[in-house]
Symmetry: C2
Subunit: 311 residues, 2 copies
């Protein structure tokens, strides 16, 4: 028998889909859209664990922020307006109660930043898992989903890339790079950008970079039966990438496209809409094109295959 | 410093409330009501763990059912119509993937029983915690909450009491009492009853019995600054209570009112509405009265204080 720990996450999701009834709404994205009354309700859930998501050096407040931020980012990728979160904490019995409260404070700060509140929750003994469910509403906008990109579309990302990965390596190696560490520990969900992008009706697909650029591009391509070419020279690399790579003497490819933990939005659109999208004021970089097949990185005149990220 | 494991759950909740912003909706109940468009959205979250909620003899399918049922019961106590659930699983890496799927099948069966679907989820390594968030809508009905009971109101419960506790003791002692074990392992959330009761507008307060009758009565009383008198002879005791107590030679009070794990609804109403409530077809028993102060059990001519349940 295969064990859960040895099973690829995507395989596990497929197996689970195979043993439950199909939902009456689309569930291909990290958030699901449910028609409620006259508006669309968006719901998503994601959990973070001490073991996997709280590196040495991350505070409980930051961990709480992040537990909310990963879910806010899933709402952002849809273009939803957050209306609230609920949390279920499974925490070690020996934890200080003040640390439990600090996690909740961090979670609430992220909720406040995103314009909503913590609506309820549950706390039980466990090994350090914080599961957050976030709710949002579309307010008449059409949800952006992973489906819809087609060959010829431009691929773009908000913000810059690799800062969170640089922050992880900075923490691990004792480098004092506060901005990078903050990008890792207190990521900013792109709520406003998502709302504006979805309101244009011009975005053909959207996903967040929580699993890294490489995985995001592959997900969009496999969802839409297409390929992509990403131009290395167009990638908005965080300055901290070069800094950390220089100090450690490592290459800059994986840290830029292979790591997750960053919460920018990747989206696609018809190239004729580029100017109108720039006019919205959302800051983004065009980094490549949707193609018929193959997911490749164009760098130094060569084309390298892009596999899913390693982190 | 106090540790989380040594802190009373209610104290922990108070401390957490003290360090987050107050939500713009009422959060005194296990579910929160959020105005969305023209309707009220109800959301609740609760988690179950292998350690605390999966006694020897409970199957993974039953565990999955229960993880959904505890949340459906919180929707039922409000009178909401379920519209979907999302789940976040933190499971041991060595678990068989087929057992993971079986948990999801059980969860989906409960969702189906309650008329909704699993809308999304997340699965991570962990120690065996299943956190479920349930969503419901009021469809124009007024949500039943814990607040509203006043002296003179009748106290009533749906179904009967103590079957789940009897089931727990049956499993622990190897007694073959399938109905009691089923009451424990595959509890029936009172969704239909909750919808009908809320539609009458006559219920002054409502709570489910997930923490047992004693705790439920105390919660209602402390919420409303009142007392209660519960008549032992009116309690609809499950026949399995006498069976198990007889076999084990133990008293029947704790098992009837002190244990949780059962999912009947306790509700209050003005006595003049009793007949109209009976006419709805919901089966319930009137078990006592709301009073000015003191929460007591009247049994054999004596009045005993009722403290919160022990389970």
């Amino acid at each position: 028998m295969a064990s859960f720990g040895d099973t690829d996450e995507r395989d596990m999701i497929s197996m689970i889909r195979g043993c439950i009834r199909k939902a009456p709404c689309d569930t291909d994205d990290d958030a699901a859209v449910i028609p409620v009354g006259r508006g669309d309700l968006v719901v998503c859930t994601d959990s973070v664990t001490f073991e996997r998501h709280k590196p040495e050096g991350m505070t409980f407040e930051q961990f709480g922020w992040m537990s909310a931020a990963v879910n806010m980012s899933d709402l952002a990728a849809m273009g939803a307006t957050p209306i609230g979160i609920v949390s279920a904490l499974a925490l070690p019995k020996e934890m200080d109660t003040s640390d439990v409260c600090t996690i909740m404070t961090g979670m609430d700060e992220c909720a406040e930043f995103c314009g909503c509140h913590i609506l309820g929750g549950d706390t039980k003994p466990g090994n350090g898992t914080v599961a957050v469910t976030a709710l949002g509403v579309m307010e008449g906008r059409r949800p952006m989903t992973r489906k819809g990109a087609s060959p010829g579309d431009v691929i773009a990302v908000t913000g810059d890339l690799g800062a969170a990965a640089a922050g992880f390596l900075a923490l691990a190696n004792g480098f004092d790079i506060p901005d990078a560490i903050s990008a890792l520990c207190a990521p900013i969900p792109r709520i406003e950008e998502g709302k504006i992008l979805s309101s244009t009706g011009m975005v053909t697909s959207c996903i967040d970079l929580s699993d890294g650029l490489a995985t995001a591009v592959n997900t969009i391509c496999s969802m839409n039966g297409c390929g992509a070419i990403i131009e290395w020279d167009l990638l908005p690399r965080s300055p901290h990438v070069d800094d950390v790579c220089g100090r450690l003497g490592i290459g800059d490819r994986e840290i830029t496209i292979g790591w997750g933990g960053e919460y920018e939005l990747l989206f696609t659109f018809d190239r004729k809409d580029a100017e109108a999208l720039y006019d919205t004021g959302v800051e983004f970089s065009m980094i490549g094109l949707v193609t018929e097949r193959d997911v490749v990185l164009h760098r130094d005149g060569k084309y390298e295959e892009i596999a899913n990220g390693s982190y």
